[in-house]
Symmetry: C2
Subunit: 369 residues, 2 copies
């Protein structure tokens, strides 16, 4: 489906939109009611730039749900099945927000700016509605809103050099998922060591939407000695490293244990946490499904399918492949699967692709790399 995307006032432009157009963006997705650049016309070049160099991404669509007020800390704990009592300001924690049945609603990063100020940096979904409803019905006092805060990611092994040139050598000691409020040429931002890749890097949370082009150009110029170039959350890299895509790898029944998020669930979190009792049950009984990889036997490069593909073992349905890709580093076709816990690494399966073909493959643990 190469098809055009129709502009509409209902879908918002990122503060970096003009800069990405100037940089030659050729395709978008829509994420949190905002255009998200997905490519600049050089698919393999963008991949290798992320793996070997440094890439800059407009990920403004990773919107924040901001909680400010005396009960903000209480609400984060109501929403997140992780023990937050020892969380310190300046840290980001990956969390699994669940409904009352333990079903995953979003997998945000929770950033604690102060005891009364938090951001949930969200995947695609209106978690703002969930947070507002819970706060109001629990009579918790705070302001909940989507602030003017838009991340720009700088990812890849050379990202650190760009950041050192901009922010000084001290940044080398910044730890993963730590952040601090700062500015760059007067542009206000929160600088975090994070990002949706496994190649290392930073996210600059721009907190003045009118400065998008200025921030983009500052990064582009600082990155020039390192051959920085435009990119986007990279499908091939994220499948190789099995980063979770909420809404793509998950469905309306997925709980955190099914998608390798169990380590981010504290079963001894307070019993008022939404979903914790259901998660106790899942933990006791064991999940019915789990996430595994599949390495397909097919030699040529298979299309990336946007539909789930049925996975069968010995002609019996056993789950689905939720996404697939050609892996440039493994030089194999690989996929992420959500399958019955009866399946294990090493099992031989058949995958029914949406185009009608059946391809054999071998299950494996995730990540691939």
């Amino acid at each position: 489906m190469p098809a055009h995307l129709t502009p509409t006032a209902r879908v918002r432009r990122s503060p970096f939109f003009d800069a990405t157009v100037a940089a030659g963006v050729t395709s978008f997705s829509v994420y949190n009611h905002m255009y998200m650049p997905t490519g600049y016309g050089d698919r393999m070049g963008e991949y290798w730039r992320l793996i070997n160099g440094v890439s800059m991404w407009d990920v403004a669509c990773q919107r924040q749900v901001e909680l400010i007020g005396p009960d903000a800390g209480r609400l984060t704990q109501v929403l997140c099945p992780r023990k937050l009592e020892n969380m310190r300001p300046g840290k980001g924690w990956y969390v699994a927000v669940c409904d009352h049945h333990g079903v995953l609603l979003n997998d945000p990063v929770l950033l604690k700016l102060s005891d009364e100020h938090y951001w949930l940096s969200i995947a695609d979904g209106d978690l703002l509605l969930w947070a507002k409803a819970v706060a109001a019905e629990c009579s918790l006092e705070m302001t909940i809103r989507e602030p003017d805060v838009s991340p720009l990611a700088v990812q890849g092994p050379k990202a650190i050099e760009v950041m050192v040139d901009l922010f000084g050598d001290k940044i080398r000691t910044m730890r993963y998922f730590h952040f601090r409020e700062t500015e760059l040429d007067g542009i206000p931002l929160v600088l975090a060591r994070s990002g949706w890749s496994k190649q290392g890097g930073f996210e600059l949370y721009l907190s003045d939407g009118s400065r998008g082009t200025a921030l983009w150009n500052t990064i582009r110029e600082a990155g020039a000695p390192y051959d920085i170039g435009p990119g986007s959350p990279n499908h091939m890299e994220r499948v190789e490293n099995a980063l979770l895509s909420f809404g793509g790898d998950t469905d309306a029944e997925t709980n955190p244990f099914e998608v390798r998020m169990g380590k981010y669930v504290d079963l001894d979190a307070p019993d008022f946490v939404i979903g914790i009792r259901a998660l106790w049950d899942v933990d006791r009984e064991g999940p019915e499904r789990h996430q595994l990889g599949v390495i397909l036997d097919h030699d040529g490069r298979l299309t990336h399918h946007d539909l789930p593909s049925q996975v069968s073992r010995a002609n019996a349905p056993a789950g689905k492949m939720t996404t697939n890709t050609w892996s440039p580093r493994l030089e194999r076709n690989i996929g992420i699967c959500l399958v019955s816990v009866g399946l294990a690494a090493g099992d031989r399966v058949s995958v029914a692709l949406p185009d009608g073909r059946h391809v054999a493959g071998t299950m494996c643990e995730l990540p691939f790399i």
Copy 2:
């Protein structure tokens, strides 16, 4: 921005997807995490077909939030500031779902299938999260989910003839916003006299996603004598008739009174309705903004801008034009505005277009036609 849309498992295909591809769809938007066709390559032809003939639309992205159970009626009343006590099964009502501050969260059609079974047929936004949080926190007992229900719209003055040929002459007496559960060649659906145009027509809520192509083809064949063709929610027609586009014409502070939804708010609805107290305040003090049209002086056809344009009177900012279009029937450039209540029909204004031009215009009441 003619740009490609990237396929992703995170954005779902409609049950009519294959049929729309076969019909030559050329562009999409994304709506409720689903592809929504927006054009078939004949912009003016699609418009006139809707105005003078009959058009069929894949609007599966108008998803349902389904409430089933003993407390389902109670929850609809908690969520909707309209008095629902006399609502009968088989009717759809347009409702303004608000947050606790009276801010509009969605403008769904509420369909009552029975005393314990409702659908909220939603605009673009995860109202499912809102409904689930409120129900759980209020300890209301029911199932809340997004069912496998996907509307196909048949719109235009000749839509009635297609429906009579399919369902019999009795359908002529069906009233606007009434519906009934039925089937067509064994395809289960809910047939409603409704749709997001002012040209008359029906929506067929397909309740078996595996039958999308079958339903599409059945309608296409029945419509052939009336020159039916593919179309989509039509921007030009909706602006002429000032149908509300939630998320486009509204912002994070819009209340129903600002966007001509006051007639769908019952101020004497029960005091447990979410937002009703805030709406009492707005009613007492009067809203600060209202929706008016603007007819621009410009003679040529202006681009449809997807960004809000500032509206000024006597050099003082007075609000924004939230969308604009060329009107084929008026042969004028028109726009929908959200402006200070200080502005009235007849006022002369200046509109600062996103491309830098300033165009003069005259405010008017809505709709235009």
